[in-house]
Amino acid sequence: MTFAQAAEEHLDDVYGYLAWFTSDGLAAEELTAVTFERALRLWHRYDPNRGSARTWLCQVARTVALDHFRSERRRTRREQLAAPPEAVEFRFAEGLSPDLESALARLTAGEREVVALRILLDLDVGAASRILGISPTNCTTRLNRALKKLEEALHVAA
């Protein structure tokens, strides 16, 4: 598989993962481009025997996203002194109910990440835990906790 093939095939997955992870459409677009730029530079390191290209691209995307979160945290700390940031409206996906959208927005970034990997991208627990750098058990626990929070939020909304 060439890099161009991998990029074409998994672009939506990487974008979707980053969009749900960051809950920011503009940031997700920028981070997707950065992810593929970095992935191109590191493509020689990709080993198909160790995992699928999708998993590898998600690992690169996660590193890019964590860098983004760190720089955002520093930026917001500075800017909060001057003026509180405005809430940005973001739609997670077409066709989701407003209650579910709002429940997703209330999840933490870490919880949205595991939901995106395990449900949106439909990765198996082994691949998802490898991307997250945690054990499969921990990954499952984290997913269950996130789903329970979503369920409770929806129950309250109903």
Binding site: Y15, A33, L40, W43, F69, A93, G95, L100, L154
Partner: protein, 294 residues
């Protein structure tokens, strides 16, 4: 809504990448991957370089005492069965000092000993010299952990030189020994004869009422010869004994030390592993904090 319905709704969600992003990624992917400059692999390089550097430092630190010992002065002239590698010898009797008490001789001896404690050896060597009416002219001692060396210059009356060498040789294992005896009696006799001849010449000059300048020059020459003669006698009164003390090399410290060193190495590796685990846990914790906000 049940959890199953929830998962089904989430699973059905489609998040397609916007067209601009797709175009941008296509342009990135169209770049010739072979022309992309690969970053220098710092992590693998450090993973190799750090252990290698640590091993080199450890080798230098461990080898230093041994190197120090091997740099000690060797005694090439008279060495009792010393191998070329300078390995430790069994304790042997000291060389007899072949000097004649009634003649004026300068005695210079050097003795190289291996013993377990440098500070104790220095103390006892100085005690030997002082007990024989001698003294320590110089002491240079250095230690690295349990290894070390010391160089002493002892001055002992010539009549006690043999006793001093015997007692010093019992302080540890003799590694090398050398004794130089130079007879000064013949040159002193010649100087005596020359002084007598010059004194006769001086008496003749005085009888002939020679010039004061000639008398003064001859007198000065006689005095210089007399000073030189007395200096030689003073020097010959004391024998100079150079003592070199060293501890056994680090590798000869026994199997117990090897086990202890191995245990230290294992403990060091365990501490390093714990630090790495702690750093990883710390990084994970910070990551969790970072992702704990909506």
């Amino acid at each position: 809504m049940s959890q199953r319905d929830l998962v089904a709704e989430l699973h059905a969600a489609q998040v397609p990448a916007p067209r601009e992003v797709r175009e941008r990624v296509r342009r990135i992917a169209a770049e010739d991957a072979s022309r992309v400059r690969r970053p220098f692999p710092w992590r693998p390089a450090l993973a190799v370089a750090v252990p290698v550097a640590a091993a080199v430092v450890a080798a230098v630190v461990i080898a230093r005492p041994e190197h120090h010992t091997s740099a000690t002065r060797t005694m090439p002239a008279i060495v009792h069965g010393a191998s070329s590698a300078g390995t430790a010898l069994r304790a042997q009797k000291a060389l007899p000092a072949p000097f004649t008490p009634k003649r004026v001789e300068t005695v210079a001896a050097s003795i190289s000993l291996r013993l377990p404690s440098i500070s104790d050896g220095v103390r006892r060597a100085v005690a030997v010299a002082t007990s024989l009416s001698g003294y320590a002219a110089s002491i240079h001692a250095s230690t690295h952990g349990k290894t070390g060396t010391a160089d002493l210059t002892l001055k002992v009356p010539r009549s006690h030189a043999q006793a001093a060498i015997d007692r010093l040789s019992r302080l540890g294992t003799i590694v090398g020994e050398r004794i130089d005896v130079t007879d000064r009696q013949a040159s002193l006799n010649a100087t005596d004869r020359q002084i007598a001849r010059l004194q006769k010449q001086l008496a003749r000059l005085r009888a002939e009422h020679a010039s004061a300048k000639k008398v003064a020059a001859l007198t000065a020459r006689i005095q210089a010869l007399q000073r030189s003669e007395s200096s030689t006698r003073r020097t010959a009164h004391y024998a100079t004994i150079a003592v070199h003390l060293s501890t056994p090399p680090a590798h000869a410290r026994g199997a117990g030390h090897a086990w202890r060193d191995a245990a230290w190495a294992v403990a060091g590796a365990a501490v390093l592993a714990l630090l790495l685990l702690a750093a990883r846990a710390f990084r994970r914790r910070r990551e969790d904090v970072l992702l704990s906000r909506p």
